[in-house]
């Protein structure tokens, strides 16, 4: 039977506390447990947002957010120890069935393998008194639509019917084995369909509120007659609290409501509530049907009598009241958000500084790493990486010059130069890629397209180099090493590891001596061959956007439409400075031009992919816009 004396938590770790249910639970429990310290571990994936936790909590001494993945064993062990955690409420999971259908292996890696790593850390720590594992009613499989269908009880056999549900059933299997083998004080709580504030807008309720607000048509999968039960999130939070305080260790509890509606009726109710709150005349809800998922579970019906009987819990918030609250919350303007915690390597360099400035402008939290990868022991680098607890790492490192050399000529020479080159241009990158992958951190590497040159298949004016092409230019030691780095990065592609190749990066600050534009204005000779260029004020914001979406793989991050340096200068002359000093133009057809074409990494890069991901100006339009700004600032 349930404990008569309530367990009283002191230091609570909530995982996934920036997600939907997790953040609502944090907001709820902060007041319900007025003396506890709350640590929130969240990797800010999908729709999670650190600002879902209310501001007064975020500002409180009783609350701390640590961004990171539960699979990061060292991070977890450190925080358990440091905060003397006695209670864990584990929400963290990738909860989207569709994503799980697309890549069940990744889903298993994220939800189950990550969870086992977490269990290992908890077991090693040994100080946890209560561990509530949040599972889902989907582990039971669906129920029939019959009127007399019985709800699933805790002793019903599990029959997960989609990969997401299967990953959660796998977690439960490991919960049982850790309970038996190591006596971990775990309780499983299977929650059914919940709605409330902060829910991702791919889910039915927020999606419908959006539609209702715009007076559009509601899309429903299949017939829309799937019965779902609807539990308001604060009711669920109260249930979790009771389980944490009085639940019996090793037990399983269903948490749900017998209140069921099909999505058509939910749509109608939402349209009505939204119209009311907006003070508009009520509108008849309209629906369109879209194809089902490969298997769309029709109905989840669970029996929550155990938690009601043993812990005295039952839902108290009626559907119309819950709906009123969630609609009010959705209609409110969101003021703040925090979806990333970026760590920058090489933030002091020319591009690194621009990247910093951009993050500041976008109000995105970031820190600079201090360790020099390769120079310092790997263990020290790893310790720093873990202690900084990033959700995203970006590497702007790279060795292109040094000493008296302003160019990559610096890297030519003996073993000492080979060492700097391989260390800073290859090892540093691969190290970060490997550890970010292991620790569940998104990694973006600002790489280079300076590894290609025009060849027969990619002639001047012809097809550009694609993301899948491998380096064909080995004319200097920099390109040689960067070429191998690029090939190595390709193998991380399926994970959240982004290899953003840039070429001839420029911006419109003429006083920055690493800026290509500032350099070429001074050149006495200009080679007139088309080249792909990266206009940083366009491309860096795209990079940040793709990081937030956790895009991985190779990416040619250049503006569409190659231009020659001659074209750029002529455009500059036309837009900014008619008195630009003369220079000698070297044509491709000339003997010198032919030789340059053969020996340098001149190339056009295919930008179809980046264009498919994000709107991006062509090189010409981008330059024109930038030059216009220079002209205006000069006139001022």
């Amino acid at each position: 039977m349930a404990g008569k004396v309530a367990y009283s938590p002191q230091n609570v770790l909530v995982t996934g506390g920036c997600g939907f249910i997790g953040s609502n639970f944090v907001n709820f429990i902060f007041n319900a447990w007025p003396n506890v310290k709350l640590v929130n571990l969240d990797k800010l994936i999908l729709n999670s947002d650190a600002c879902y936790v209310e501001k007064n909590i975020r500002d409180s001494d009783r609350y701390k957010l640590i961004t990171g993945d539960i699979r990061n064993r060292s991070l977890v062990e450190n925080l358990l120890q440091h905060h003397q955690i006695d209670t864990i409420i584990n929400f963290a999971a990738d909860c989207t069935s569709t994503r799980c259908y697309q890549n069940p292996v990744e889903a298993l890696e994220n939800n189950t393998v990550g969870f086992i790593e977490f269990l290992e850390a908890v077991r090693t720590y040994g100080g946890v008194q209560r561990f509530v594992h949040i599972s889902t009613d989907e582990v039971y499989g669906d129920s029939s639509l019959a009127q007399d269908e019985q709800g699933k009880t805790e002793s019903t056999m599990l029959s997960p019917q989609n990969p997401y549900a299967a990953t959660k059933a796998c977690c439960e299997a490991f919960v049982h084995s850790y309970r038996a083998s190591y006596n971990l004080p775990i309780i499983i709580l299977r929650i059914n369909n919940i709605y409330g504030p902060n829910q991702w807008n791919v889910k039915v309720v927020p999606r419908f509120i959006q539609v209702a607000r715009e007076q559009g048509k509601f899309t429903v999968q299949g017939t829309g007659e799937q019965l779902r039960s609807w539990l308001f999130v604060d009711d669920a939070s109260e249930g979790i609290r009771r389980v944490a305080e009085r639940g019996v260790l090793g037990e399983m509890y269903n948490l749900g409501t017998g209140f069921e509606l099909n999505v058509l009726n939910v749509g109608r109710a939402i349209q009505k509530e939204v119209d009311q709150q907006l003070g508009r005349p009520e509108r008849e809800a309209e629906f369109i049907s879209i194809p089902d998922r490969p298997y769309n579970d029709l109905r989840y019906l669970i029996d929550s009598s155990k938690i009601e009987r043993e812990l005295g819990w039952k839902p108290v918030i009626p559907f119309d009241e819950g709906l009123r609250r969630v609609v009010a919350s959705e209609l409110r303007e969101k003021k703040e958000e925090q979806r990333m915690n970026v760590v920058i390597y090489g933030g002091g360099g020319w591009i690194g500084q621009q990247f910093q400035a951009l993050l500041k402008e976008k109000n995105i939290r970031f820190q600079l790493a201090e360790c020099r990868i390769g120079k310092q022991p790997d263990a020290q680098v790893l310790e720093e990486l873990i202690s900084l607890a990033p959700t995203h790492v970006v590497s702007c490192t790279g060795r292109t010059h040094g000493g008296n050399f302003k160019t990559i000529e610096y890297l030519e020479g003996g073993a000492d130069k080979a060492n700097e080159n391989v260390r800073d241009n290859l090892y540093c990158v691969i190290y970060l890629a490997e550890y970010c992958k292991k620790l569940g951190i998104h990694f973006a590497y600002i790489g280079t397209g300076y590894i290609f040159k025009y060849d027969e298949e990619h002639p001047v004016g012809g097809a550009g180099f694609k993301e899948g092409d491998i380096p064909n230019y080995f004319g200097n030691s920099y390109s040689v090493v960067k070429g191998f780095t690029d090939r190595m990065m390709t193998h991380f592609g399926e994970f959240e590891i982004l290899n953003a190749r840039i070429t001839l990066p420029l911006n419109f600050e003429l006083n920055e001596d690493r800026n290509l534009l500032a350099k070429i204005i001074q050149y006495p000779k200009i080679f007139d061959i088309p080249l792909s260029i990266t206009v940083l004020p366009d491309c860096l914001p795209i990079l940040v956007d793709l990081m937030e979406k956790r895009v991985g793989g190779n990416l040619n991050l250049m503006n569409p439409g190659p231009l020659s340096l001659h074209d750029i200068l002529q455009l500059y002359k036309q837009c900014v400075d008619p008195n630009l000093k003369d220079y000698e133009r070297i044509g491709v057809e000339s003997e010198v031009g032919q030789r340059l074409k053969e020996t340098k990494a001149h190339c056009t890069v295919d930008t179809t992919y980046v264009q498919s991901l994000s709107p991006i100006l062509s090189s010409v339009d981008s330059l024109k816009a930038g030059f216009e700004k220079i002209r205006l600032s000069k006139n001022v």
């Binding site: 069940p104 292996v105 298993l108 890696e109 189950t112 393998v113 086992i116 790593e117 269990l119 290992e120 582990v139 499989g141 002793s155 056999m157 599990l158 029959s159 997960p160 019917q161 989609n162 990969p163 549900a165 299967a166 059933a169 796998c170 299997a173 490991f174 049982h176 084995s177 038996a180 083998s181 190591y182 490969p294 298997y295 390769g374 022991p377 790997d378 030519e412 003996g414 073993a415 000492d416 080979a418 080159n421 391989v422 260390r423 290859l426 090892y427 691969i430 190290y431 490997e434 080995f474 004319g475 200097n476 030691s477 040689v480 090493v481 191998f484 090939r487 190595m488 390709t490 193998h491």
Partner: protein, 631 residues
């Protein structure tokens, strides 16, 4: 009831215990069926567990070495052989392994199977996917509790059982979502011929036979049901023929026996068959697991009613056959198939010869990693389907230059260096990790130089030390290779060797070189006596050892010691000069090469009999002298 007659069967894990017995049985039972056996040859499996008749019948049987996670390979197998039936045994069934590394166990058993299910879904022409599970998924049964039915709750008590319950959860999702035609068999403990020696029945038989005490876990009172493997395989074959798609079946014997009683019975039976060798019965405790289930008690009525199957071999009969089998002389073993890169080089060819001598199956890699496109190399690994890859690739010299000075120079040299010394081994490690193949990188210990923490005669560099010598481009690049190999600690053996010596008059043999020197720079160095180390390397591969390991013989040797020994044993007239510290050349000679001693504690713990570097050199000189004399 419809009867299925499988025409083309893919058995995974068919070199393991039950898998191989199953193959041997269906070969006769289904005379028209083609059988493909996919097995990664984990320790305990043996390709020769499959009967010789089958192995010689190329028309009906084929072994493919590989992991279920290798999607390219499994898809190719399904398509090429038009597979209609899969029987999925493959899993790491060692409970101890799963306790040691739960995450690794989940990857090995659950993730790999999910990769495989994805392929099966895309292939879409299966008539049956039969999944072999275990009664352990139910967890513990009390003394008086009801037997577990197929719809009972699963509450596994150890990580192995949790991985198997997880496999079932995934399988269920594929059954429902993609209409995969599944049948699951949850089986009792199985015993019989071909089980690997670590498992309890063969362990007891061998202990009895050797007159050793029986090693018993916990109090030995834990109950298990014992199903003879031939019964089990017959049941599985019947299930494949008649079982209802989508169903789960418990399979087992009604016969329960505690571990202690099992030990006693085995003792008696072994004594009966071999009265001279068996000592009196005694037991010793062995290390406990965190949790031992008291009993697995399952209800097998469904199988009896629907399939008409029940165990027919009495425990006495089964035990008698099993003991007899383990007392026979050991059978042939094929436990690996090695893909060798760089097998034509100096060290690689010595390794290949060793494999020849030991009848270890191997293939020489034909692609050139780094030089060829990565897909081409991957396709080769998929096509060859090895259990192990070993790379002897590396660039130490080239046209016109016989030393690592070859690698000094411009971008072209850096390209060769980075490609052959870094990218190629990294690529192989990456591909092998993805494809579930064990990989060995034969790297170098020439990454360090003596410093104040590691002085001459003081402590050596350990496996965890990071390179501190950057005096030539070879060592620079190899240093980063060594560091990236540390990222593969659970899938790659990073074998650091240095200054290799063999027993031949060979231009690349360090000892042969030294005895020709007239002037030497005399620093003590760790060296690798190849005739000692290569067999160890092969043994470590068989054990699927991973992580970094210093593979030099213990102790460091100076050239002057080698030459002195040469004077003593071969040619007293040989003279040489030592380049002293005051010599103007000394500084550049010191800095151009990595001079260091490696700490070999780890290797010596694994191989305590390994001789010292000094003794190895003496042996080499003796051999060289003999060869000189013969010339």
């Amino acid at each position: 009831m419809t009867m299925r007659t499988p025409k083309s069967v893919l058995v995974t894990g068919g070199c393991g215990f039950i898998g191989s017995n199953f193959i041997n049985q269906i070969y006769i039972r289904w005379p028209d069926a083609k059988i493909v056996n996919l097995d990664k040859l984990l320790p305990g499996s043996n390709a020769c567990n499959v009967d010789c008749d089958l192995r010689n019948n190329a028309e009906r049987y084929r072994l493919v070495v590989g992991d279920c996670c290798n999607r390219e390979l499994t898809m190719k197998l399904l398509q090429d052989h038009q597979i209609d039936t899969i029987v999925h045994f493959a899993a790491n069934s060692s409970v101890d392994d799963c306790y040691r590394d739960s995450v690794g166990a989940a990857r090995n058993n659950v993730l790999a199977m999910t990769h495989f299910l994805e392929v099966c879904r895309l292939y879409d022409r299966l008539e049956l996917f039969m999944h072999i599970s275990t009664d352990e998924v139910y967890g513990d049964s009390g003394k008086d509790s009801q037997p577990k039915m197929e719809q009972s709750l699963l509450t596994p008590t150890n990580p192995y059982a949790a991985t198997k319950a997880s496999c079932e959860a995934m399988l269920n999702a594929y059954r429902v979502s993609y209409k995969l035609p599944t049948i699951t068999a949850r089986m009792n403990n199985v015993y019989g011929p071909r089980q690997c020696n670590a498992k309890v029945v063969p362990r007891f038989v061998l202990q009895a036979f050797e007159g050793q005490p029986f090693t018993v876990m916990s109090d030995g009172e834990q109950l298990r049901s014992w199903m003879y493997v031939d019964d089990c395989c017959e049941g599985l074959a019947k299930l494949a023929e008649q079982g209802r798609i989508g169903e789960i079946y418990n399979m087992g014997a009604k016969f329960e026996l505690s571990i202690l009683d099992l030990a006693k019975q085995i003792h008696e039976e072994t004594k009966r068959q071999s009265p001279d060798t068996v000592a009196d019965f005694s037991t010793v405790p062995m290390c406990d697991r965190p949790y031992i289930d008291r009993r697995y008690h399952i209800d097998t009525q469904k199988m009896e009613k629907e399939i008409g199957w029940t165990c027919t071999t009495s425990f006495e009969q089964g035990l008698q056959r099993t003991v007899a089998w383990y007392m026979r002389p050991p059978m042939d073993r094929q436990t690996e198939k090695i893909l060798i890169y760089g097998g034509k080089g100096w060290i690689g060819s010595q390794f290949a010869k060793l494999c020849d001598d030991r009848a270890v199956a191997y293939v020489l890699g034909a692609t050139r990693p780094g030089d060829d496109r990565d897909e081409v190399v991957e396709q080769e690994i998929v096509r060859v389907a090895p259990s192990h890859v070993v790379s002897f690739l590396g660039r130490t010299h080239g046209p016109g230059c016989n030393t690592i000075e070859y690698l000094e120079g411009g971008p072209d040299k850096l390209k060769e260096n980075a490609q052959d010394n870094l990218y190629a081994p990294w690529l192989l490690a990456t591909l092998c990790r993805k494809l579930g193949v064990h990989m060995t990188y034969v790297g170098t210990g020439c990454l360090f130089s003596y410093d104040k923490d590691h002085p001459i005669g003081g402590r050596g560099y350990t496996e965890d030390d990071e390179p501190n010598y950057f005096g030539n481009s070879y060592s620079v690049v190899k240093g980063y290779t060594d560091r990236v190999m540390h990222h593969f600690d659970d899938s790659v053996l990073n074998a650091r060797i240095r200054l290799p010596v063999n027993f031949e008059l060979d231009t690349r043999n360090l000892v042969a070189k030294v005895i020709s020197y007239k002037q030497i720079f005399d620093m003590p160095n760790s060296i690798t006596i190849l005739p000692d180390i290569l067999p160890i390397l092969l043994d470590l591969m068989k054990k699927r050892y991973t992580g970094t390991l210093n593979m030099t013989n213990p102790g460091a040797v100076k050239h002057s010691e080698t030459l002195a020994a040469y004077n003593r044993l071969v040619d007293a007239e040989k003279t040489w000069q030592v380049i002293g510290d005051d010599d103007p050349r000394a500084e550049s000679m010191r800095s151009a090469r990595a001079n260091c001693a490696l700490d070999t504690t780890k290797l010596q713990q694994l191989y305590p009999d390994l001789r010292s570097a000094r003794d190895g050199v003496l042996e080499a000189i003796k051999h060289i002298a003999a060869q000189r004399a013969a010339q």
